[in-house]
């Protein structure tokens, strides 16, 4: 009997052994190897984006806008946008990883098909891919904080919590994004993603408080995941933890669970039906 059989047999009676082999780390290992040989450039250049935004909007827009009133305090515009940009880059990265990257691996390179021909299950693949995206998000968040702190943009010590918060919201976006991508078949459908994502970010309150809008628009914005993500990071950034923070967290917990459930089911339907 080969090793492979012994390893698979050892799990035969566990619940969920059909969808989960307990080896998402093999998928992460695969990403690490790929990082070494080919994917390091796109990953490394990903650091640049939020920093450029910070420079452009901080220096340029700061001149025009000056200060922003947030609740009962008045803060410098650059300080205002910093947490928003951190959250935005975490969400953007997660969306990119879970849409275009996943689309390519599903339809072009048929990578998941190859993985699922082994004893691995769909949940191993989904978790492995998502956790990898989170590693990326984590390193971006740390780098961003390392740049923002010396620039004096970090007002409170609790801003350290922005790192786990960024990873957490990236989890929500990555799991949901992967689920949605698994339904797409053509590049044209993928092209729609960009235009759907655009308002998600423009209206999320990253660049200005959404109180500038009429109530109904404000209400619509408050339904969007991007708003909850940005608010969550902003809460910890300024140390304003309250019941709202709890709401944002719950929002993402639901999003993560739904996303993982849908992704696992779809991968099963696509490759194992």
């Amino acid at each position: 009997m080969s090793n492979a059989v012994a390893i698979a047999d050892a799990r035969a009676n566990r619940t969920g052994h059909q969808i989960y082999a307990g080896r998402s780390r093999a998928i992460i290992e695969r990403s690490l190897i790929a990082l070494r040989s080919s994917t390091w450039v796109p990953i490394a250049t990903g650091f640049v984006e939020p920093v450029l935004y910070l420079l452009a909007f901080g220096y340029g827009m700061g001149e025009l806008i000056g200060n922003v009133t947030l609740g009962d305090k008045t803060i410098d515009y650059t300080v205002f946008i910093a947490p928003g940009l951190l959250a935005t880059s975490a969400m953007n990265g997660a969306i990119y990883d879970s849409t275009w990257n996943v689309f390519f691996k599903l339809n072009e390179s048929k990578l998941y098909q190859g993985m699922l021909a082994t004893p691995l299950g769909p949940l191993d693949v989904a978790l492995g891919e998502i956790i990898w995206a989170l590693f990326r998000g984590l390193s971006y968040a740390i780098a961003f904080l390392a740049i923002a702190a010396p620039l004096g943009l970090v007002p409170s010590f609790s801003a350290v919590l922005a790192i786990p918060a960024a990873v957490f919201i990236a989890f929500g976006f990555a799991s949901f994004g992967m689920a949605i991508t698994s339904y797409f078949k053509t590049y044209q459908q993928m092209g729609m993603i960009n235009i759907v994502v655009l308002p998600l970010f423009l209206f999320s309150g990253s660049l200005y408080p959404i109180s500038v809008y009429p109530d109904w628009l404000e209400f619509l914005i408050q339904l969007m995941p991007s708003w909850h993500g940005i608010e969550l990071v902003r809460n910890v950034w300024f140390g304003d933890l309250d019941s709202g923070t709890l709401l944002h967290i719950s929002y993402f917990v639901v999003m993560i669970i739904c996303g993982l459930y849908l992704t696992t089911r779809r991968l099963r339907d696509l490759f194992m039906r």
Partner: protein, 270 residues
Amino acid sequence: MNSGISVTKIRSFGAIYVAEARISAMLKWKSVIAIVAIGNPLFYLIAIGIGVGVLVNENSGTSGTGGVEYITFIAPALLASAAITAALDEAMFPVMEGFKWRKLFYAMNSTPITGPQIALGVFIAALARVAFTVICYWAVLIAFGVMSVEQSWDVIPVTIFAAGAFAAIIIGITAKVKNDDYFMTVLNRLIIMPMFLFSGTFFPLDSMPIYLQPIGWISPLWHSTELGRYFSYGYPLSATMLTVHFAFLLALLIGGFALANKTFTIRLTK
């Protein structure tokens, strides 16, 4: 044997045939293109124009934007940037596809169509897409009352011209790319993104520290934006600067074509 093929006809209209092929390929994307063309201005105007505009107005009124409303100030810039994004799409992807992904250009080149004609055909098709995008964008701006028809119609040809110059240089550069592993990511993140942010799009370029301003000076987007402001609301530009902007874009157009013609010919005959 007469199969109706006329070599002389192909010689003179080759570029048109290539453009036709490109446009029919583009039409597979028509719903995406249309939604982007309308959605993009709508979202940006409501979010940045109005949202950020409120903050700007509360703080510095119109003093930072040369006496005009913030939305008026950014409208030509958003228009220029949408045009350039469309140009990038229709210049970069077809050339990658033609030389590398599906090798379509080699098939075209096995007919009497020449390399420069293929490059010109791709350019014409890109220009068509740009024109469509610009006209849609402009119509939305008019509908929002951000610009007036009489005062701003000449923004259309100027913006198309600038985006065309950008398309030409991108066609030339992309044709040189052999290994596409990182090309698009690097181009997007390290060139397009900084160009978008540091070209005086959202705030006057001279409000940036001087060491960041050169990014704007070499950016086609900045030149296009300055011209757009001049033609849409009478932003003050000296005759010298007007000439500089046009000359820069023209040089880009000519340089782009020179590079494209040379690279296409070399790559197709190798």
